[in-house]
């Protein structure tokens, strides 16, 4: 079952001046998120990620199209019982202490006192803020705010967790903590849908990813499928005891040849002529040091997505 189902979602904003055309933030976006997966919603700033998340949470209405969360229309109050949400760069009631803050959100989520207190203890421990439990949020650092924000999103043990740029602005340790937390959620069978513009975050932890640009889904699928599909993978060969530049059969096959003393670095544009080059190196008395296939990356994909493709086709094919 799809936990999130978006079909042909459009959102236009009126421009500030009469006569000017409306600004389109989402242009027929379609995607689906399956139960139990970590789905990375990747796109540059201004591509429509936050708008999508706001529509899913009922903070904003779509102009047209369908958005369903947990089988109910986006924004449905009943569905929100099973959703945890952390907005981008969140601002919270800073006059509350960490404990009071989580208690407030727990009560809003209709938790009873006894269970709530246990849950607060568990979450403060989980996000490493046990020491700061009686400190007001106005004295928290940015990383601490992000962590307490995650704790509030998880206070009612939701089935689906939606996070908007959860790792933005965090130091490497903070990012790792958030990554570990997301992975732990998947182990508990939760579904995590998070937006980001930071590619390595997605590559490291996501089961599937959707790339959004200018309000349209440009590609979607498993990370390994996306990075290999339609992209040439180059191969790097390092060998010793050979003047590779003087061998025409090698220079003809390689796109680049670098010679540093006895060591040569050869870059083949693809794996097609690999065996031929390896045989030539051996025949010339060279010693093979390493052969490294260079995989494509999401980054390449990210920057190559210029020409529009049907988002729904991209997703449904995944």
């Amino acid at each position: 079952m799809d936990v999130i189902l978006i079909d042909g979602l459009t959102k236009s904003f009126r421009s500030g001046w009469p006569g000017l055309p409306p600004v389109t933030a989402l242009d027929g976006l379609s995607l689906s998120v399956h139960r139990g997966e970590i789905y990375g919603f990747l796109g540059p700033n201004g591509s429509g990620k936050t708008t999508t998340l706001k529509i899913l949470m009922g903070l904003m209405r779509s102009t047209s199209g369908k958005a369903e969360v947990l089988g109910k229309p986006a924004g449905d109050v009943r569905a929100r019982r099973q959703i945890g949400f952390l907005p981008e760069a969140p601002y919270f009631y800073d006059y509350l202490t960490a404990e009071e803050f989580l208690a407030f959100y727990g009560r809003l989520a209709e938790l009873e006192s006894a269970g709530l207190n246990r849950r607060i203890d568990h979450l403060l421990e989980l996000v490493g803020l046990n020491e700061a439990r009686t400190r007001q949020l106005r004295k928290f650092s940015k990383g601490m705010l992000q962590r307490i924000g995650l704790a509030q999103a998880l206070i009612h043990d939701p089935e689906l967790v939606i996070l908007d740029e959860p790792m933005s602005g965090l130091d490497p340790i903070g990012r790792k903590q958030v990554r570990d937390l997301i992975l732990a959620l998947r182990e508990q069978g939760k579904t995590v849908f998070f937006s980001t513009h930071i590619i390595p975050d997605v590559e490291m932890i996501c089961d599937r990813v959707g790339v959004v640009m200018k309000g349209r889904l440009m590609a979607a699928g498993r990370v390994d499928e996306l990075v290999s599909h339609g992209h040439t993978q180059s191969v790097e060969i390092v060998c010793e005891g050979l003047n590779a530049g003087a061998a025409p059969d090698i220079t003809g096959a390689a796109s680049r040849v670098l010679q540093q003393g006895r060591r040569s670095l050869l870059v083949l544009p693809g794996p097609d002529r690999l065996e031929e080059v390896l045989a030539s190196i051996r025949a010339r008395g060279g010693t093979l040091v390493s052969v490294t296939p260079q995989k494509g990356s999401l980054e390449e994909l990210f920057f190559k997505q210029e020409s529009p493709r049907a988002g729904s086709q991209a997703d449904h094919g995944a």
């Binding site: 009922g58 109050v77 009631y93 209709e110």
Partner: protein, 256 residues
């Protein structure tokens, strides 16, 4: 609409008001009352009592209105500007529950304020041996109804405009609300049909806050008829309910 979520929001709003040190105004109130009494001590006994009685009621009213307007305009707009509303609306709570929770939180703050000011006021009167009438309680009760109405007005404007604009609009309507009888007078005396239509429209549209003002009568020790007291209270509360309904309707349609 279940009350549980409303109470959670209301109590948190009340706590926010306390931690924002709103109740410090009580110190200001006490100083104002005592200061006035000391300054006016040279006057004759009768005038002195009357002045302290008048000043006390006026101060309770003024301080209450200042809190109602300046906290009221931020109740919702601050939540949107600071984006705290995002995580709250992600919970199983309707927008109507949120609006009522914010409103009742400030109403509770105002109640605590007014009751405390009333206690300080009555104590001051007792210390100066000024007469304490039941009419004073009637006046303070109607002041509280006015504060509930002004808070609803501020909250209504803050659901669709900025804090500054909300403050101007609320204050403007507060002033007009005390001049509605004059509006009717202008309409009756004017020869221009446009002026008559506009003024009559304003007379019926704007809240008649002067109907809730019995301070002068109460300070003189003349009791307010219970039927009037009830009618004025019902009028104020109905107007408040209308404003709250409108505020909820606007807020339900908003994009954040």
């Amino acid at each position: 609409m279940t009350m549980r979520q409303v109470v959670v929001i209301a109590l948190n709003t009340f706590r926010e008001n306390l931690r924002d040190k709103i109740l410090y105004n009580l110190l200001f109130f006490a100083l104002l009352l005592i200061g006035t009494s000391v300054l006016l001590a040279d006057l004759t006994v009768m005038e002195h009592h009357k002045m302290v009685t008048d000043m006390g009621l006026a101060a309770i009213n003024l301080i209450g209105v200042i809190i109602a307007i300046f906290v009221g305009i931020g109740l919702v707009s601050k939540e949107i500007e600071r984006r705290t509303v995002y995580t709250i609306m992600a919970r199983p709570i309707s927008r109507t529950q949120f609006i009522w929770g914010k409103y009742l939180g400030l109403a509770l703050t105002l109640l605590v304020n007014v009751v405390t000011m009333l206690v300080v006021y009555l104590t001051t009167l007792w210390l100066y041996r000024a007469p304490v009438h039941g009419a004073l309680l009637q006046a303070v009760a109607l002041i509280f109804v006015e504060l509930l109405l002004v808070t609803a007005l501020a909250l209504f404007f803050s659901t669709f405009s900025t804090s500054t604009l909300s403050a101007i609009l609320t204050f403007g309507l507060y002033v007009i609300g005390h001049l509605t009888n004059d509006l009717k007078g202008v309409a009756e005396q004017s020869k221009s049909e446009t002026v008559q239509v506009v003024m009559t429209g304003l007379y019926y549209l704007c809240p008649n806050l002067e109907a809730l003002n019995v301070k002068g009568q109460a300070a003189s020790g003349v009791p307010v008829e219970m039927s009037y007291q009830m009618l004025a209270s019902v009028y104020g509360l109905l107007y408040t309910a209308l404003l709250m309904t409108a505020a909820c309707a606007v807020f339900r349609r908003r994009d954040f």
